[in-house]
Each structure stands twice: as structure tokens, then as C-alpha cells.
């Protein structure tokens, strides 16, 4: 079945210069493998399209049931240069949590 990522995860996003960092955290530890499987750097980049100019890099934090994405060239120059309303990428986590993922009904309810 397909569900929005927000059903199984929460998160927070911020900036480092022109790089947006998006942290995605599984609500339950048992959903962490689903995050690892479904939320790949390629899918994150495709989800945001033109908003992310550079590559997306993913780091794993199994101890927190979390993934950290660094999206390069995602903030219109970043900091003071950016002409975007979300120059610090504060809303990027919410944007990613809207992405649809594939999950087994068993994985969701067990």
C-alpha cells in the first residue's frame, strides 16, 4: 500500500549555507528499515525537483531511527543571498514528509 511518509515518521530541517539538511525520524524503531528502503537520496531529489540543484547525500543514524539528508544547492544560494522565502530550509522536512512511500500492511500494523 502507499502512504505518506508522515504516517510513520516526523522530522526537522535546517541549513548550512546553500545546503539544506533534512532529518527524518521513524515514530517506531520497527519502521526505521522502511525509511532506509524507501527514502533514498534519489527519491528525495526527484520529490523536490528543481528546488534541489545539486546532489543529495544520505547519512544513517540507526541509534535514533533516523536518516539525515544533505541537499546541496537547495536554498537559492543560502543565508543572506537567497531570494527564497524559505532561505533556511525550515519547511523542507514537512515537504519531504508529504512524499508517498510503499509499505506492506503487515509492516505498518505489526
Amino acid at each position: 500500500m502507499r502512504i505518506p511518509l508522515s504516517r510513520i515518521a516526523h522530522g526537522r530541517s535546517g541549513d548550512k549555507g546553500d545546503t539544506s539538511n533534512i532529518g527524518i525520524i521513524a515514530y517506531e524503531d520497527r519502521w526505521y528499515p522502511v525509511l532506509v528502503r524507501e527514502v533514498t537520496p534519489e527519491r528525495v531529489k526527484a520529490h523536490f525537483g528543481a528546488l534541489i540543484e545539486g546532489r543529495v547525500e544520505r547519512f544513517e543514524l540507526p541509534n535514533l531511527g533516523a536518516l539525515n539528508f544533505l541537499c546541496y544547492g537547495a536554498l537559492g544560494g543560502g543565508g543572506t543571498l537567497s531570494l527564497r522565502i524559505d532561505a533556511q530550509g525550515k519547511t523542507m522536512a514537512a515537504g519531504l514528509l508529504g512524499m508517498e512511500i510503499e509499505i506492506d500492511e503487515r509492516e505498518l500494523t505489526d
Partner: protein, 444 residues
Amino acid sequence: MIRIANGQGFWGDWLEAPVRLVEQGPIDYLILDYLAEVTMSIVQKQKQADPNLGYARDFPPLIGRIASKMKERRVRVVANAGGVNPVACAREVKRLAPELKVAVVLGDDVYDRVDDFLARGLELKNLDTGEPLAVIRGQISSANAYIGAFPLAEALATGADVVIAGRSTDTALALGPMVHEFGWRADQFDLLAAGTIAGHIVECGAQCTGGNCIADWQTIPDFANIGYPIIEAEPDGSFVITKHHGTGGRVSLETVKEQLLYELGDPQNYITPDCVADFTSVRLAEDGPDRVRVSGIKGRPATPFLKVSVSYLYGFKALGTIVYSWPDALEKAKAADAIVRARLAALGLTFEEIYSEYFGANACHGQAAPVNAQPAEVMLRVGVRGKDKKAVDRFTRELIPLVLNGPPTGTGYGDGRPSVREVVAYWPALIPREEIQTRVEVVE
């Protein structure tokens, strides 16, 4: 165990937060984080205009307001409120709270040393682009090295009630009191990493106690009286994140995890002047209501470099808006945008970038936003950035005419034409650690 509370996540954070932290329960240290990169260039300009300014001006009145409570409850303050003029900041604190002992940490401000660095072959290459600093020498407005926790601990050892630093790292404000109280050494990297990560969790104030929390935000109680974070630090490097009883907000695994991930790069290599901390070693456990216990943290030796942040005048930008109502609000806004761009091109004006957003449609998330076929209104915001101030100024005159000579239902232009703003940019670089010698002074 010592209690370290953070009452300010940035200059401009809630003024009541530090006062409430001192009044509403027991704490030993109140830390206050005032400096963002943009702040340094602002305070440098203020100092150039008046040699008695150049620091966080909200700080001395705050200390004046809480001084008697600090004495009564034996609370000490550590803040990076000094900007580029910690001594002037300290003098103003002494004027408003003469009963307090005030120490400053100096040596981070390298604005006057830039030419010396360049002459000696330190290129201060931009960490992102690799360009040498000489390229922007004429445009520099501030230059500061990020300093760590040990100079703050040294300042606390003078017995000061208030320690004022310039560009100390945010995390050092929490680690400094731990180093001072527990006698941690510069080679105890696990302990230093633990204090650093404690500092990371609280450095944005209420962002770890329910503020900006996505998880179940509707159920977070009493945002109006949100409690700011307190670290209960132990000598073994474990700690609890909590807040005062009876305050609003929430401390839970979710609120702490979200803040751990905030502004994080490579989680195994969180580089500070004091150590390299490993966020994949963090263990969290619930420890009663509004309490999260943190343990297991590992760290490695610091690098031979300190980060230097240089701010410089980059160019100019302006941003203007017009609102269009339904029907077809987005279509009208897009038509208006096309007209503005055509008129700018006809004037022969060029910019580094012209960027347009449609508020109410997709400004924050672009194609990732849900589609709303008929939004009630859409705000067009057009921005330009460039080196030529005249071109940017000319752009600011191109939006309001659209209300009469563009698509129908344009409104919301009441603030007049947009202003031209200077763009101050940041140049991150590394400098060998031995170049930066800090020193502590008690200010009478």
C-alpha cells in the same frame, strides 16, 4: 549534578525566557546564545559607527533585570553576547549590575589581523569554493574565529558571575561550565563530545522543548508558557534534558530527536574547536515526564584548525510582492511575473538572479506542494540580486504599476515599493589553531 539552562536561541528570541528560567526553578548556569553569522557584520558596523557599541544590546538590560535573583540563587551566566566588542558589553553590564563580577573572553576577533594573515601566506581559502580570501579583501566587514569551551571555563575560574564571549561556538556555552565544574581535560574526548551534544540539543532554546516540533504538535501543551531547556549534567558525561515544572511545552524522545537532527551534517563528524562528536553514539531513554536521559556519547580529537567566519559585502537585492484574488489567482500572478521580466529585459537590466515565488500555491515546496486548483488568493513575490545597485533600485519601481497596467485584481501593495538591501555574504575558512590565542580579562 549541575543544571545548565539555555534562555536564548538567537538574538531576538523570547525576552521572557531567561527571566523565567532564573525565577521558576533551580538552575546553576544560564547560557545565552546571541550570535548568528549575520549578527557579526551588523555589530561590526555598529562598532565602526560608535566604538562603545558592537555587541548584543539586549544583553546588559537583561542582566540588570535578573541581577538580584542571580545573586540570591547563585546563578552564573555564560553568553556570546560580546559580538565584536565584549569589553564594551561588559562595561554596560557593570553599569547596570555593579554587584556582579564580569569577565570577558578575547581573541576571537581577527578583523584587524587579516592583512597580516595574508602577508604571511595564510590564504584563508573559502571552504566551499576554494578561492583565496584576497579576492574579496576590499569588501570584508568582519572576521572571527570560532572558539571553544576551554576559554569559557578559564573565565568561570575567575569566579565571575557573568562571562561574556565574542564568537564562541554555540555548543561551547554549555560545555564550558561542565569543563569548569567537573575538571574535564582537553584529551577526554568522550566527555567533551557529550557536553558538545548537550549544547547542540539546547542551543536553539525551545526547539528541543516542543517548539517547531512536527511530532504531534497539536497535543503539545501551553505553548504560550513554553519552558526553555535545562541540562542536568553529570560528571560522567551523561545528562538529562528537561524543563522547569509547571511550564508549557514538552520534552520527549521526539522533541529531542528532532533537535539532534537540526542543522546536522555528517553525524559521525560533528567538528567543534573542542572535539569531533559522533551523533551515531547517542543513546536516548525516557526518564519520567518531560525528562529524556542521554548517554553513551563518543568523541574523537579536535582537528588542528579553527573555523573562521568572514563577512563581506557581496551586492544588493530587493524583493517585492503583489496579491491576486481568485478566480485564477495563480494564472494572474504568473502573467504579472512574465510582464515584470519582459519590462526588465526591455530596460536592458541584468541580474545575477531573478526568482519568483507564488505564496499560497507552492512557494515553500515547489513541485512537492499539493496542488490546489483554485486558491482564494496567491501572492507573487519577485526578487532580484546583483552587484549593480542602480539596476536593483530600478527593479523596485516595476511592481506597483502592475496594479493598473497588468492582470486584474492586483492588490496588497500598501507598503509601497520594496527597499534595496545590502547582501552581506559569509566566507568560511580554516586557520591553524595556534594562530588564535584567547585571553580572559575581568572587567571592573
